[in-house]
């Protein structure tokens, strides 16, 4: 037996020695970086080929260093195609490399001029005419020379972005061949819905295509004819689905047109490198005429964006000066707030998104409105945002985020039980009492016999919120049983789709919604109107309990589209009352905030929807000094 102990002793000594020895070289000065040759596949005009580039900067390159911001995209952007973008990462990328008709003001969220210098509508807001700038060229980045080149026409003149490009872009989004998930946002355009739902092989397809209500009156004037009056149309015109698109590139390159080297863009930045899943680099488009104006005051010449999904990893990079701005992981917020340096860099900005739990209204037991209301009331929103999420989020009693026109957020006349007492509501204790009563009525006294499946997509943050809600439900209704399941995002989206089999679906699912344009119509109508939206909650006018209310809801959101501003506000309020308090299709939880840290040398905007990189400022000298 003794030999054994001797072996252990020897091994222990070896381990310690190994630790000590490996620790030593760290104190020696690092060897000068030798340029390493790596092979990178880059898409160069034509076919992909292997280009040998040097990974470490050569001395000569230091002279032409560029003011660079180090950014984290957060994930691989699913697309750079303006017609296909549905997520915030893609939208941030597209908003930096393209320029749309209008833009949204950081503060007021109103439409401001961008590619369009002015616009007007007819009396009843069904015909909108946009006047376009004539000095924005299409550019293509050439990876072989590293230059951004202006696209020229047959005669060698710069090819400017014109009204035909906008018309093409809009029609391309609506074209069923494009299969844009967001095409419905353009259904306001006359003939848009018909075109999008048409069969591309049908004989009248070209007719429908031509009949769509968008046309170029001249080279720099574009006119939209709408199906219904829409006072919010200039805000829709800020969305990437209406952006001008380079027809010749798309038709030549097909799906690969979005790769650097192929893609023609008209925005402040060009995409110079996109290594999928790793990083995406943007560089200033020197041919863009608006640099230095109030619209684009930025001095940033380059954005190096990594794609790190784990917030804690990104935050660690931020702390080691490898990122200039980053999110803050939930569990580090306390430390950040207590830290003398980090607390100065901490910014808590509202963004135009709402976090909510949706109820599948066809699946027992959430097919009972009383159960749904009891569950919604059983969430202590104030405690959740203060003790669990901790990012300065605001407890929500409506679906529409307060940053939108027509949002009754915080109005105690909408679901007062969801609001804490200091916000004018009835508070959590009263809400639970109400919930208990409702459950008793529904045949689940104290939650006994109530078995609920809660599902969320994989993420640290969602898991915490789900477990907190689970604990809240189980302390409010002690006998009930809550099961939590997680799925990967793509699988998850399929599971909660309204066409997926009911037996695969949970009772409660989590989702967030971010505004495409800041108007309540984008929320209650486009998400939940059973005729317009994705309707993941499976709301139906035939529902035995709330069918009438669903009908009223659908009519209300449609009526609000044509009503005057004052009437529209009242109608949206009624719609929220129906959605949250009477039908209880969802349980709104909180209005998002971004919890960010930004280095003192970077001045950035916190637009609720857009990235607006061209409005940021970077103190390059300070950054370099800090990097030393």
């Amino acid at each position: 037996m003794r030999t054994h102990y001797r072996t252990y002793l020897v091994m222990a000594v070896l381990v310690v020695a190994a630790l000590v020895l490996t620790a030593c070289p760290a104190q020696q000065p690092a060897a000068p970086a030798e340029p390493q040759v790596v092979e990178v596949t880059r898409i160069v005009e034509g076919t992909p080929e292997v280009v040998v580039v040097t990974a470490t900067p050569e001395p000569g390159m230091m002279e032409e260093e560029k003011v660079t911001v180090n950014y984290n995209w957060g994930t691989e952007p699913p697309t750079a195609d303006p017609a296909l973008a549905t997520d915030t990462t893609s939208s941030a990328l597209i908003g930096s490399i393209f320029m749309g008709l209008t833009d949204l003001d950081d503060e007021t969220q109103e439409a401001v001029p961008a590619l369009a210098t002015s616009w007007e509508s007819n009396e009843d807001k069904t015909v909108w005419t946009f006047k376009l700038r004539d000095d924005i060229p299409w550019v293509v980045y050439n990876p072989a020379t590293g230059e951004t080149e202006v696209v020229t026409d047959d005669e060698g003149n710069p090819r400017m972005v014109n009204a035909h490009d906008v018309v093409y872009g809009v029609k391309r989004t609506l074209d069923p061949n494009t299969a844009s998930d967001y095409a419905y946002i353009l259904y306001y355009i006359a003939g848009g819905e018909e075109l999008n739902n048409a069969d591309p092989a049908a004989e009248n397809f070209q007719e429908l295509y031509d009949a769509t209500g968008v046309e170029a009156l001249d080279d720099y004037t574009v006119q939209f004819t709408l199906k219904v009056p829409a006072s919010f149309f200039p805000q829709i015109a800020s969305m990437s689905q209406t952006f001008p698109m380079p027809q010749w590139v798309i038709e030549e390159k097909g799906d690969r047109w979005i790769e650097p080297g192929f893609i023609a863009t008209n925005g402040p930045y060009v995409m110079t490198e996109w290594i999928h899943g790793d990083h995406l680099t943007l560089e200033k488009n020197e041919n863009w005429p608006l640099w230095g104006t109030d619209y684009a005051p930025s001095n940033i010449e380059r954005l190096e964006g990594v794609m790190i999904e784990e917030v804690s990893t990104a935050f660690a990079l931020y702390e080691s000066n490898e990122l200039d701005t980053s999110g803050v992981p939930l569990e580090q917020i306390d430390r950040v707030k207590a830290d003398p340096v980090l607390s100065q860099e901490f910014v808590n900005a509202p963004i135009n998104c709402t976090y909510y739990y949706g109820f599948i209204m066809e699946k027992a037991p959430t097919n009972d409105v009383r159960v749904r209301k009891a569950l919604s009331a059983g969430i202590d929103r104030k405690t959740l945002v203060e003790q669990v999420t901790k990012g300065g989020q605001i407890p929500a009693n409506t679906f529409t985020n307060p940053l939108n026109f027509g949002s009754p957020a915080g109005d105690p006349e909408v679901a007062p039980w969801a609001l804490p007492e200091d916000m004018g509501g009835t508070g959590y204790a009263a809400a639970v009492e109400m919930g208990k009563g409702l459950l008793e009525e529904a045949g689940f006294p104290n939650g006994s016999g109530l078995d609920v499946l809660l599902m969320h997509n994989v993420s640290e943050g969602h898991a915490r919120i789900a477990q907190a809600v689970q604990a809240m439900w189980q302390s409010a209704y002690p006998e009930m049983n809550v099961t939590i399941e997680t799925q990967e995002w793509r699988v998850y989206l399929k599971t909660i789709d309204k066409d997926s089999p009911l037996e695969d679906q949970p009772n409660v699912f989590r989702l967030g919604w971010c505004a495409d344009y800041p108007h309540a119509n984008n929320w209650v109508h486009e998400v939940f109107n059973t005729n317009a939206g994705a309707n993941r909650v499976r709301m139906s006018e035939d529902d035995p309990q709330v069918g009438e209310l669903v009908k009223e809801f659908n009519e209300t959101t449609v009526k609000a589209q044509v009503a005057s501003e004052e009437d529209a506000k009242a109608l949206y309020k009624r719609a929220e009352q129906l959605l949250v308090d009477e039908i209880v299709a969802i349980a709104p939880i909180y209005y998002y905030t971004t919890v960010n840290v930004t280095k003192p040398w970077l001045q950035r905007t916190y637009d609720p929807i857009k990235l607006h990189l061209y409005k940021w400022q970077l103190d390059w000298e300070a950054k370099k000094a800090a990097m030393q």
């Binding site: 037996m1 669990v388 689970q470 997680t486």
Partner: protein, 341 residues
């Protein structure tokens, strides 16, 4: 006569000569190994903790809800006023959080104690499942004709080549969708067992069903080395059936090494469970498992290190204890070490 006796019988004869039973002899050998003894005591304590963490054993047949017994609180009891509390926190109304609380204000001590159940259950259930399957499979394979033996072993080789984690993940996904659909019949019974166990049941099945391969090889090897021995010949010559030879003469002889191998495999199962929980395929929240607790706590390592260290230390100590005990058992079962030390 001694020459043809099986090792077990031989041991019995030797032990009888010295006036001790063979089991006592083994135990005496085992007791001499202090680390192994200490580990065993630790594991026995752990079993007691797992059983008496709450009043589960007393309410098993009364249908009442179990109350915490050894653990100060129920594992899902969240105190949102005291989230991320440091160790030794006393609340205003006099409750004590000895090891602090996690991000939802749940007592870490209680969760760690409840977590003992998962780890030990996985250790015993998965080990038993894999021991039974592996032993029988290996015994049959080793005792059968070479053609059948070959076929059975190549099957094992084939399964060895299969990425086990992916298989477990697939099984977990399948079982979870099964439980979501709520089908009737046998599936329903299994699902209810799984729910009652906090999602552990299918995990055990998945782990046990895939870890018998090594056991099968050991059992086969042992069987091969014994089946040509004289005592088997003797048994056959007096007309014993194959079944009797396998059950009565071979099994007792190969059991020792197999149990030892299984004991040494247990830390692997515990780690596998921790890993699966870590990536979200293990137990259903809020059921605590050490792996799940570690996965929840590791991002906050810099802010609240105690949330990570408590379950991590528990996991380390338990796996170490199983390793040392397995070591001790191997030494004790091995007759070659007899008489030394």
């Amino acid at each position: 006569m001694t020459a043809s006796a099986s090792p077990v019988a031989q041991k019995a004869i030797e032990a009888a000569k010295r006036g001790r039973s063979p089991l006592a002899d083994t135990f005496r050998q085992f007791r001499k190994n202090r680390v192994a003894m200490l580990s065993t005591v630790f594991l026995i304590l752990l079993v007691l903790v797992a059983v008496f963490t709450d009043t589960f054993v007393f309410t098993l047949f009364t249908g009442e809800k179990p109350e915490p017994l050894l653990a100060p609180y129920h594992y899902s009891e969240a105190n949102f006023i005291y989230v991320n509390a440091p160790p030794m926190t006393r609340t205003d109304d006099g409750q004590l959080y000895l090891l602090g609380t996690d991000y939802l204000g749940r007592d870490i001590l209680s969760r760690t104690l409840y977590g003992t159940r998962i780890s030990l259950a996985v250790a015993f259930v998965a080990a038993t499942v894999s021991l039974i399957i592996g032993l029988i499979y290996g015994l049959i394979s080793g005792y059968s004709r070479p053609a059948i033996d070959n076929l059975m072993m190549r099957t094992v080789d084939f399964l060895y080549g299969f990425p086990i984690i992916i298989f477990i993940i697939l099984m977990q996904v399948y079982f979870k969708s099964l439980s979501r659909r709520g089908e009737g019949g046998l599936a329903d019974v299994l699902i209810n067992i799984d729910k009652a166990m906090g999602g552990m049941f299918f995990l055990f099945i998945a782990i046990g069903m895939l870890n018998w391969l090594g056991m099968a090889r050991i059992a086969r090897g042992q069987t091969l080395s014994y089946k040509q021995k004289e005592f088997v010949e003797a048994a056959r010559s007096v007309g014993a059936t194959n079944l009797r030879i396998m059950g009565k003469h071979l099994l007792p002889n190969i059991l020792g090494p197999c149990i030892v191998a299984e004991t040494l495999a247990i830390p692997g199962y515990i780690f596998l469970e921790a890993f699966l929980s870590f990536i979200g395929l293990g137990v259903n929240p809020p059921t605590p498992s050490w792996g799940l607790m570690i996965s929840e706590a590791y991002p906050a390592l810099r802010t609240y290190p105690h949330q990570l260290f408590v379950p991590a230390i528990a996991l380390t100590l338990t796996t170490l204890a199983f390793n040392f005990m397995g070591d001790g058992l191997r030494d004790a079962f091995d007759p070659r070490l007899r008489g030394e030390g």
